[in-house]
Symmetry: C2
Subunit: 364 residues, 2 copies
């Protein structure tokens, strides 16, 4: 069985590493000369909307999946009509547009921050009295890791905010003074079976995820499960999904969802019975889902821009390293490391050391 993947970065890399034990082979479409995953399968080098390469991918792969949500609509359409693509294109269409996504959350009765559609400075001026200050103006499309966003603190910022959007359609959202950011990773199999991972508590800085920790028995677990279930079922979704949420005094507001394996679920490699990567594959192959139960205390730290030397990382007790084979570059996720142990004190000490090390080498 051969799995096609759009994108050859670290997510595809970890999917492939989880897939070999299941007897799978991989074929990866990616424009780079070499990306983190291209050494783990056949590499089709070219653009994601190259019709010839897409035809070759559809021909050679039994099932196609992807590691990023900005798959061109033309590619998703082509693959949908020539092969099996999971998650299906309907999830992509929604996740690619922040406005469609927020409206979709509302249709599913999933609360969000206040938001408004912004296509002009006029729209923005009209919307702000209801949205309130501070707020965030975001491009509707192609945003990730805090890119394409402008924080609006007062009416004086409105013009600059709109100019920063360069006339692209946008959405303005109330700034949420959240207690914490969490995400729930869930998975739905072809036959409809669903499983949920424990909530992940996520720490961002500069718009980039820095630390994600597994939260066992969180009081908000059930609510998050209800929300993500309505996404999965209404979309007839297959594969891993990640739903990011803000916790505001015990109430959850949906921020966005990712129709793919997610950085806030990397801790599942060591910290869950079955990783998100393996369960993504089991789901799209219609194989029984693996247990999503947590194993002890687990937290993950990203290395941004630069990674510390391996011997320094691995000298931290119970630390597991995941290098992505990406050359150092400002703001780029180049590696992550995970602490997992049954010993709560050891966990805290090791996570602290790891975070400090990542900060020392940070270039974001």
């Amino acid at each position: 069985m051969k799995i096609g993947i759009l994108g050859g970065g670290q997510l595809a890399r970890m999917i492939a590493l989880a897939g070999y034990p299941l007897g799978l082979k991989f074929i990866i479409l990616d424009p780079s000369e070499s990306a983190g995953a291209t050494c783990l399968g056949e590499h089709l080098r070219g653009q994601y909307d190259d019709p010839e390469l897409l035809a070759e991918l559809a021909e050679k792969a039994d099932i196609v999946t992807y590691e990023f949500e900005n798959v061109p609509a033309s590619a998703a359409d082509f693959l949908s009509s020539h092969t099996t693509i999971y998650p299906a294109a309907n999830a992509l269409a929604i996740a690619q547009d922040r406005l469609t996504e927020k409206n979709f959350f509302h249709q599913q009765n999933i609360p969000t921050a206040h938001f408004a559609r912004i296509d002009s400075l006029e729209d923005l001026k009209k919307a702000m009295p209801e949205i309130g200050y501070p707020a965030i103006l975001k491009s509707r499309r192609m945003g990730y890791d805090g890119k394409g966003q402008f924080r609006i603190k007062s009416p004086e910022d409105l013009s600059r905010a709109w100019v920063s959007m360069q006339n692209t359609p946008a959405i303005v959202e109330s700034f949420v003074a959240f207690k914490r950011e969490v995400s729930i990773i869930a998975v739905r199999r072809v036959n409809g079976d669903i499983a949920f991972y424990p909530l992940s508590e996520n720490y961002h800085s500069g718009g980039i995820l820095r630390v994600a920790q597994c939260c066992v028995n969180d009081v908000l677990q059930k609510t998050a499960e209800q929300y993500v279930t309505s996404l999965l079922e209404s979309l007839d979704y297959i594969g891993i999904i990640a739903l990011e949420l803000f916790d505001i005094e015990g109430k959850l507001l949906a921020n966005e969802f990712a129709p793919r394996v997610h950085n806030s679920g990397h801790w599942t490699i060591e910290g869950a019975e079955t990783s998100q990567f393996e369960n993504h594959l089991r789901a799209i192959l219609d194989l029984p889902l693996g247990s999503t139960k947590a194993r002890g205390h687990t937290g993950m730290v990203n290395f941004i821009g630069n990674v510390a030397p391996a011997d320094q990382i691995l000298s931290i007790p119970n630390c597991h390293l995941h290098l992505y084979e990406k050359s150092p570059r400002k703001g780029r996720k180049v590696a992550h490391a995970t602490i997992r142990t049954d010993d709560e004190k050891l966990y805290s000490r090791s996570l602290e050391k790891l975070s400090a090390l990542a900060e020392t080498f940070d270039d974001s």
Copy 2:
């Protein structure tokens, strides 16, 4: 950093899968057109003693290791003088010859069953009064999975036993009525650091390992650690080693050692904090060793000859599948699966189901 591996079977495959997260690349020398590991690195196809391929391997790899102990002496010599090979050739020379191995155990004050060197039927007849019946005649070299062995029940068997050896040098050993077979997997890093995994309790049938279970806090753990430490230190050994032992009423007798990652340590992928495969790589790269602590209850079952369909295996709770991409063949290890859970009852139930499933598909 590029690691060369002699042999491209399932052990090399699992080494490579453990190595990618550490940022490693692989180059694999194997005579097969395609073997389980050759999709995970550059494949040098040819014989293990091919001088040109060995030169290419030495040139391209930073460090060379191997997945089987029957590496030709000429290959080990060449690699030793042209690159770094771990574990070093001295361990290979001993492990390749059952007589040298048993003598080496004795030098290290590690008890074994009674044994004698056999080069003729005369030798065998002379030795038996001291060895006693039943006994096992084994070829000194190239034996694995019970091959090249003859069980001697009475003096009438002696001629047939010797004929079965086809005039190759042999060793006769007293048959050990053991309570159980155990093995200890240990690892020694370039800097001399040593770590031990919990004992594995192993069930063989037809000379082939069927089930290996992790034994936490075994009463014989310390003794096994002493024995394997003396092997590691006297050989200045680097990498993972496996020492197989018989437990006779609480006394341990050494059977053999393998200078490599070992089938009885496959449970460490899910059942230990760090797998034997990752620790082998950390050891030969002189990186800090990972924790060898057990995580809950873990046991592994081999699939011999044939593997059950993936959906049947994965429907067993807490079961993890490892396919080797080997075509079905009588007596061949084609896959293994591991049960891991913190719940002792669930563990027993799942392991029983998995063993029964493996038996149904067994072709050995």
